[in-house]
């Protein structure tokens, strides 16, 4: 069954005259794990806050289970939020933090106790009832925040970069944990992150955003394999993006070489972006390559070597990942299989400046 639980229709908002969300349309299926992915400042938190009711959109409508909730205040919306940096109640202990929502609903103490115990089990914090939340580690506070948000049995859980403050190892563990929780409860998760790996490994659906505009909506595989533009391709993984010309369907020229590809539907001689992933470049002897380059560096990265290659006539160096290293200074030939050449409409933004400031956060 696929019911739409949350729907945004033509939502726009601006702060101080600056457009933060621009005509956002989004449908979220009940029971799915949907991730909003995009660089810092692209409007992810704002989108969640609109759904949570903390920001009122300038234009457009928000629907919850088919009902327009534009005018419903936050405390009456049947969804709960795990806030960026948790926002636990500092004056309450773990038990009372989790019980907060149920106390407002005046549930009987026995029911509250049972629920808190159950939730503490779910987030693996048994025995922490009496602890002050100020003495918990980041990961533990995180779990309390999740348990607290789940205590009201929401149909939708909004999570705003819940793992942002955790170290890599803990983040990986919590990713698995969150996925498990979502599965066992069967509720909808709307998850915000700027970590593409996190998005790819956890989501049913990824919504890639940039500058308040949805770039692409699709499954992780779709997004990874068929990015609709250079921004998505570059954001979702390190890619080589070069200028190219489509001579005709399945006939492209880039790096001074004509190649066969699988893309169609472009105008003859249209200028395009050509995207090739580092792992898709095949290294061959210089005379056998479609084009050639000089190896500038080679670094071992654990499972493969990462080489930076200068291709004559190209502004940007190419990045190649291979299990076999090449000598620095050597001239190598490069080939790409037709299905690994991704042709995209020209993206007019500047990829590097769009994503650079997220890189230090992503490990």
């Amino acid at each position: 069954m696929s019911d739409t639980i949350i729907s945004l229709r033509g939502v726009s908002v601006s702060f101080d005259g600056e457009t933060v969300l621009d005509n956002l349309n989004l449908d979220i299926e009940d029971g799915t794990f949907v991730t909003l992915l995009g660089p810092s400042g692209c409007g992810k938190t704002t989108t969640l806050r609109i759904i949570g009711g903390f920001v009122r959109q300038d234009e457009g409508d928000v629907f919850f289970a088919g009902e327009n909730i534009n005018n419903v205040p936050p405390h009456k919306r049947k969804l709960n939020t795990v806030f960026q940096r948790y926002a636990l109640f500092p004056h309450l202990n773990v038990y009372e933090n989790i019980a907060f929502g149920m106390r407002i609903q005046k549930k009987p103490e026995s029911e509250i106790k049972a629920k808190v115990t159950e939730l503490l089990g779910l987030v693996s914090l048994e025995g922490f009832e009496k602890r002050s939340v100020n003495t918990l580690s980041g990961g533990q506070q995180q779990r309390v925040a999740i348990a607290r948000a789940l205590a009201n049995d929401p149909k939708v859980l909004l999570l705003d970069e819940p793992l942002g403050a955790l170290d890599l190892k803990l983040r990986k563990e919590m990713q698995v944990e969150l996925k498990r929780i979502q599965h066992s409860l069967g509720i909808t998760f709307l998850y915000v992150t700027h970590d593409q790996e996190e998005a790819l490994s956890m989501s049913d659906v990824i919504v890639v955003m940039n500058h308040g505009i949805v770039q692409q909506i699709g499954s992780p595989l779709d997004i990874y394999n068929e990015p609709v533009n250079g921004f998505v391709a570059d954001f979702i993984g390190e890619s080589n993006i070069v200028d190219g010309i489509m001579y005709a369907d399945c006939d492209v020229e880039f790096c001074g070489a004509r190649m066969v590809c699988v893309d169609t539907g472009f105008a003859p001689m249209e200028e395009v972006d050509v995207v090739v992933r580092p792992e898709d470049v095949i290294v061959v002897p210089a005379e056998e390559g479609f084009f050639t380059g000089t190896v500038l560096s080679s670094t071992f990265k654990g499972v493969h070597y990462e080489m930076i290659v200068d291709v004559p006539g190209q502004d940007e160096d190419w990045m190649i990942q291979s299990t076999v290293t090449q000598e620095v200074g050597a001239t190598i030939g490069m080939k790409v299989d037709p299905e690994n050449i991704h042709i995209m409409k020209k993206y007019t933004g500047d990829y590097a400046s769009d994503i650079d400031y997220t890189e230090n956060v992503v490990e």
Binding site: P73, N80, A87
Partner: protein
């Protein structure tokens, strides 16, 4: 403590020695040493008649003034903390402004407002209402205390409230709390430290205040601060009893503050937000 920091601390240590330790030592000395050496007579004399009564009156009026300050000051602090940028700063300014005027002048100003032929009664007569006889009553004394010490209630509460993380109040809303519940379950408990320090900062000076009761209460009833002042300045050989009274007052205030802080700790078991 390392050498460098003890060198740096020296001026402060000297300051504390001269202005805190020495006066305190003198008070203790005068309270226990009379012309014939050590004695408990001065302390004992406090239990008798007039002194105990004016101590009781002082505590009673100080407590009433503190409660009124809290009831008035808390909403004011809340409103100020909710205001935006410039209007917030303006309101804080307005609260602080009277404090820049000497306390004595402020009390005189209030006196001239409250007098039987003062400004307020003149206006009341002008618009055809009965004048109120408030000057020279306990009510006037309490009013004077409230007027003089209200900012000390507002400012600490305000400063604690501005530190309450707005995401915490949003989290409460998110969990189903309407405006009133957010206030009762989040804002009020988180502002307890401010309330505690507000109460301490009003109660202590109110109880030990002098001049106020003389100017506004008509001198009919002496508060403990006036008694101590009188003993030191006007009564020959009164400084021993004066010192004893000061000491007792100080100890009472210390006990009261300790109790308050203890209450603070147990109430605020989660600790304050940074």
């Amino acid at each position: 403590m390392n050498k460098k920091s003890s060198v740096l601390a020296a001026p402060f240590a000297l300051w504390i020695l001269i202005f805190t330790v020495v006066p305190l030592a003198l008070v203790v000395y005068f309270a226990f040493w009379g012309d014939n050496g050590f004695t408990l007579d001065f302390i004992k004399s406090i239990g008798e008649g007039e002194y105990a009564k004016s101590l009781g009156t002082s505590i009673w009026l100080g407590a009433i003034a503190t409660v009124i300050c809290l009831l008035l000051g808390y909403p004011v602090a809340y409103i100020i903390s909710r205001a935006k940028g410039i209007s917030q700063r303006t309101m804080v300014m307005l609260i602080m402004l009277p404090q820049w005027m000497n306390f004595l002048l402020r009390t005189y100003a209030l006196m001239s407002l409250l007098e039987n032929n003062g400004l307020i009664n003149t206006w009341l007569r002008d618009i055809g209402l009965d004048p109120i006889n408030i000057i020279n009553t306990r009510a006037a004394v309490v009013l004077g205390m409230v007027y003089d010490f209200l900012p000390f209630m507002v400012l600490p509460i305000y400063s604690v409230m501005t530190k309450i993380d707005h995401r915490v109040t949003e989290a409460a809303q998110d969990l189903g709390a309407n405006g009133f519940v957010v206030f009762r379950r989040v804002i009020l408990p988180l502002s307890v430290p401010g309330i505690i320090s507000g109460i301490t900062m009003v109660f202590v000076p109110a109880v030990s205040s002098f001049i106020i009761s003389r100017l506004l209460g008509g001198g009919k009833e002496m508060l403990i601060g006036d008694v101590i002042e009188m003993l030191f300045i006007q009564v020959e050989g009164g400084r021993n009893v004066g010192a004893a009274l000061s000491l007792v007052l100080m100890v009472l205030m210390l006990i009261c503050m300790t109790l308050m802080n203890h209450f603070d700790d147990s109430e605020d078991s989660g600790g304050m937000i940074a």
